[in-house]
Symmetry: C2
Subunit: 155 residues, 2 copies
């Protein structure tokens, strides 16, 4: 796909400027949903099955997800690519914006607040954790993983 | 508009997870296009007139832009609100992602690279400049403004 302009913001927006693509990435990243069925039934926003199928194809084509080969009758597992992992700062920036401009007191806001308070180094640690989980890199840490910390403290 | 879930990423994506909304914000922010006509004719990606009209209404309703009152026969000027100004880190995160994953050597990439190299403090300075330009705050600096620096050095 040739982008419609040479602008880097546009080049990203052509891939990511779609509500459902961003929410699918969010669910893979933060909820570790790796299969079509888990992404469908777990969706808090109620994604439709045909939209999910379409967005998964698009995200694979754009190089943000890879689709594992599945034997007959087996489910295919999706993994983040490095390009997909590096969308995390974009998702965090979106969530941080909401903390100020779409305030709502709930557990998910507490998690976002925790990420905002911890800052960019924590986002880097989350990305390293994703590299271990999705790309088979070695676990980068001793003790609780950053995602465990997010679950434990981000409430 | 009630969001479809309590997730802060979703709350932002419901407003900003749309390609053209993000590109309109980009043109207001980086190209200082404040009028319908300027946004329409200046659009590098060729936004259609009806889409632009729709997105301007949505961005005003969402509180990211304000629309000045125009006398009969006069054009209405759009201004960023504080919530609109604070979308800048999201746009910068999108552009930074492209630097690695959608490489293309051109002037716009050089500007994005300049913003990435300068880091978060420069993004803050750009936001202060937007507050002067759109919200009537005092000019926060002596010498060349951060947008002037972007024009001069980001090439």
């Amino acid at each position: 796909m040739e982008p419609r302009s040479g602008c880097p913001i546009n080049a990203a927006v052509e891939v990511l400027g779609d509500r459902w693509s961003l929410l699918v990435l969010r669910d893979v990243i933060f909820s570790d949903r790796r299969y079509f069925r888990a992404l469908l039934t777990g969706s808090t926003e109620g994604i439709a099955s045909n939209i999910l199928a379409d967005r998964l194809v698009r995200l694979v084509e754009a190089g943000l997800l890879s689709r594992g080969t599945a034997a007959r009758g087996q489910r295919a597992q999706y993994s983040l690519t490095e390009a997909g992992i590096q969308t995390l700062p974009i998702l965090v920036a979106l969530g941080n914006w909401s903390l100020t401009w779409r305030p709502a007191a709930n557990e998910l806001h507490a998690r976002q607040q925790f990420m905002q308070d911890e800052g960019p180094a924590f986002v880097e640690a989350l990305m390293d954790d994703l590299r271990a989980r999705h790309l088979g890199r070695p676990e980068p840490h001793d003790g609780p993983s950053p995602f465990d910390r997010l679950d434990a403290d981000g409430r």
